[in-house]
Amino acid sequence: MNVRADQIQYAYKCQEVLSGAASNYDLNFMNIGIGIMSLASGIGLRLLLPWFRTSLLVDIFYPLLLIFYAIMMFASSYVEEEHHFWYWSASGWFFLLFCRELRSHRSGLGALAAMVALRVVRRWNQTGQKFAGAPDIAKNFFPNYSTLLWVLVIATYIIVCLRLSTSSLRRLGPKAALSYAITVTMACLSFKLSFAAQDTPELVPHWLNRPVETLAKYPLVNQAQATFGLILTGVVYTLLFEVPASTGVPVTLRRQNAGRILADFTALFLLTQTRTVNIPVFLLFHVITRGLETLQLTAQDLTFTLLLLQHHSFFSFGGANALSSVDLSNAYNGVSGYNVGIVGILTFVSNWVGPIYWATLAPIWLKSKEGGYRAHVGAMTVFYAVAGVGVMVACMALRTHLFIWTVFSPKYLYSMAWTVCFHLGINGGWGGVMRWAAGRKVL
């Protein structure tokens, strides 16, 4: 066929030149943002210098982590596969802790147990871009072993129930505490079961069919609302009545840390917002927690460990730096109409269950350590500030890159969620509440 080649070539060249034009960026605002973030990093680092005292390992590896993380933001493959950075860092860190334990002639079994648990947690959900379809526990193992899944789920809930029954509602007596704990746990568990029956029926084994049928009478929305209501009642009761020191309570009751009670309630809330297949991961978190308790960790070590665990757990629950991996399955629990605020909060919590879990434990662990919770928040702030500078400069420098909208901008959105919602909201806000509660002894 005869064709005007020159004009067609002109047309394709036009397309190439015109499509490559960068968007209309407001460079002034972007520069101001980078400037403010850099200022924050600088001030934070300066204020953090006294913190670098107690742990040689952290002195070396914390700055290294900051530098490597910031550099990583400039490569699209590293952004898409960020989970590898955290997986390797966490494993390496626990290995170093193990070595340190051995050098001090302790057994180091705690670190070893944590490493093994982490290995299983890593395999729970495949994430990232390259091997997105590769087999993992949540998608490939449990559908074939649904009985094991629900045994583990029930075990997780039983553990939470036992902790709640011995720690909450102390003032009302052990019987009330036990019945309340059982009620709230049963509410959560039955909601999870009904939800699974409706959403992923292939995951419900036949021996649970009777309970499912019984529960089918109650709409899911109401079940979720009942669950949240019970949890909220427990939290409010704890904050109002258990936290302030009171007279008239038998001194034979063990002194209890109100922070732990709140942490248990939070765990219950987080379990409600987690996908059913991910619930057994909390059992592994217990193993890691027990392992960490046997190690002698300074405040610095704890902060660094928590930073690694928070990001590690975000990715192992299935999170990634892609907008397509935002999990909405639990974002509408208990919401019957259109409610942007609540759905937004539930979406955030659903996708950050891992980090929130560790952030809730942080104030309890750190309250008696040097610097307390404040130093921890300070160190975290420096991380998020430096990471923020990294992401912002990367976006600025790569604003005409092919992947600016598919890789770097989503990473920036996630950075905003991490910094504002997680760090300010959870580390700062909720952590502050936990810190206040943790400082109060319950009689």
Binding site: N2, R4, Y10, A11, Q15, E16, S19, V407
Partner: protein
């Protein structure tokens, strides 16, 4: 959920009062998100969609009032190995596009090889166009003007549907349309320098001006309009560096 679309099809195919019919099927996307591209739901769904295609094409062949109909089958996005999309992987950015009509048999009297394997990459079958190329292609086939801000290029493979005069008109209209946009964006280039190889021009904009001037010169000289009968010479080696990270 797709039945809500399918149940209307027989009625509409009978009627003659419509100009464009858009059928938006959500089922395949949903199955992809839920269980990924390799789940056991995928094949039956695709077979269902094949059945719809067969139903519509048969109607186009048989019914008088559908003789001038063009059937466009396409996806709005692909999916990665997990069944999601939004990233930049080849699975996500390679949705399919098929243009069907009995009148298109003219372009390939011996038929096209099917099934076939990709000529490049993982998903590049037959040929590849930019998403924006669809608008000028449809405009050209249906005889309507190209949308004002479209940056697309009419698919060269389809030019063979017409005689030479009309072909030239379609290509020229497309080129002038793009020139208008280039000038609106970058302003007119003062005195375009015509080089032997326009690729040596210092900027993309100047390269464009050089190419256009060359084309105009060839057109003005009349007899020596540049032709080629090899499509590969016309299609650029597109985005060679795109897949590299």
């Amino acid at each position: 959920m797709d039945n809500n679309v399918t149940r209307h099809i027989p009625d509409v195919l009978e009627k003659e009062d419509w100009g464009v019919m858009v059928m938006h099927y959500l089922g395949l996307d949903h199955i992809g998100h839920k269980a990924g591209p390799k789940s056991h739901h995928m094949i039956p769904k695709q077979q269902e969609m094949d059945g719809i295609v067969r139903q519509i094409y048969t109607a186009m062949e048989q019914k008088q009032h559908l003789q001038n109909t063009l059937f466009v089958l396409l996806g709005d996005h692909g999916m990665n190995d997990a069944g999601n999309h939004g990233g930049s992987g080849p699975g996500e950015t390679s949705p399919a596009l098929v243009l069907m009509s009995p009148k298109l048999k003219k372009l390939a009297p011996d038929g096209m090889e099917c099934p076939t394997s990709p000529y490049d990459g993982e998903f590049d079958y037959y040929s590849r166009i930019q998403q924006s190329d669809l608008a000028p292609t449809l405009a050209g086939l249906l005889g309507v003007p190209i949308p004002k801000n479209s940056l697309g290029v009419f698919m060269p493979e389809l030019l063979d549907l017409w005689n030479e005069d009309h072909r030239v008109k379609v290509v020229e209209q497309n080129a002038r349309h793009l020139r208008r946009i280039a000038e609106a964006t970058h302003g007119e280039v003062g005195r375009p320098v015509i080089r032997e190889d326009c690729g040596d021009a210092p900027s993309g904009v100047e390269e464009l001006a050089c190419l256009y001037e060359k084309a105009e010169q060839l057109k003005a000289s009349g007899s020596s309009t540049e032709y080629t009968d090899k499509l590969s010479e016309v299609r650029p080696v597109q985005y060679a560096g795109e897949r590299s990270r």
